[in-house]
């Protein structure tokens, strides 16, 4: 009997700024995702992707990032909210692929230093996700006042986030399995 391939769901950290608190959130979500049986994950830090800035789109595709997204069944995007929007580097990285995203699931984690948990950046990311071919889920995770959520050593100070992340990931995994079946078995023709 053929063994079922594990799902691969990488987490993209969507900021390259120094001192970014979103790193703590991304590490937490990656750790929780890794606890799910049949799921493999890794943290993709956009600060470590050497993309040129004098061109854009698939012209600057980076082989390792492309390979990771190609292998992925779903993505988690962890995005801080900067002036109600996402970071320029995140958009630059997302735009470097297309084929790799089609009919794959995505869940968005918003991070803000204020009280709204990145809700506005999530709303701004939805049309981008749709256009690049990803399928968004209806669960988000919102880290509000992120400076109070994590200690300096990255440890979580508010355990209520674990339950929220669990609900978010269960929905994402369901969607990832469903879309894998669709990509591989259900013909458009």
């Amino acid at each position: 009997m053929e063994t079922v391939r594990p799902l691969f769901i990488p987490v993209i950290l969507g900021t390259a700024r120094m001192g970014r608190m979103s790193l703590h959130a991304a590490r937490l979500v990656t750790g929780e995702l890794g606890k799910h049986a049949g799921v493999e994950t890794s943290l993709i830090d956009i600060a470590k992707l050497p993309l040129p800035t004098n061109d854009a789109g698939e012209a600057i595709k980076q082989a390792e990032f492309s390979s990771n997204i190609d292998r992925a069944d779903a993505l988690v995007v962890v995005s801080p909210e900067y002036n109600h929007g996402y970071s320029g580097p995140l958009k630059h990285v997302l735009d470097s692929c297309l084929r790799e995203y089609i009919h794959k699931a995505v869940g968005i984690v918003g991070v803000s230093s204020g009280p709204f948990g990145g809700t506005r950046v999530i709303q701004n990311l939805l049309p981008v996700m749709r256009e690049i071919g990803l399928v968004t889920i209806f669960w988000d995770v919102n880290f509000s006042s992120v400076g109070k959520v994590f200690a300096e050593d990255s440890s979580l100070l508010d355990e209520s986030y674990i339950r929220r992340i669990d609900k978010f990931l269960k929905e994402l995994i369901w969607m990832a399995k469903t879309l894998r079946h669709g990509r591989e078995q259900i013909s458009l023709d």
Binding site: D70, R99, H103, E184, L188
Partner: protein, 67 residues
Amino acid sequence: MVAVANTDKMICSKCQVEMNHHSDKIVYKAGADDAGTDMALGGIIEEFHACPKCGGGASRPEVRVHC
């Protein structure tokens, strides 16, 4: 009249099995010549395929023949 000519199944380069055609998408490319452009839709239609065995993906432009 425009006819879609590219009906050949894609084969996974790794597994050598027939891939599943699961999506078409319009791709807009600045500076692209008119070859392959669907004038009614305003862009190039890209086909997306997945391997039922390894899950690998592949794409190709839909080939259109004006006749």
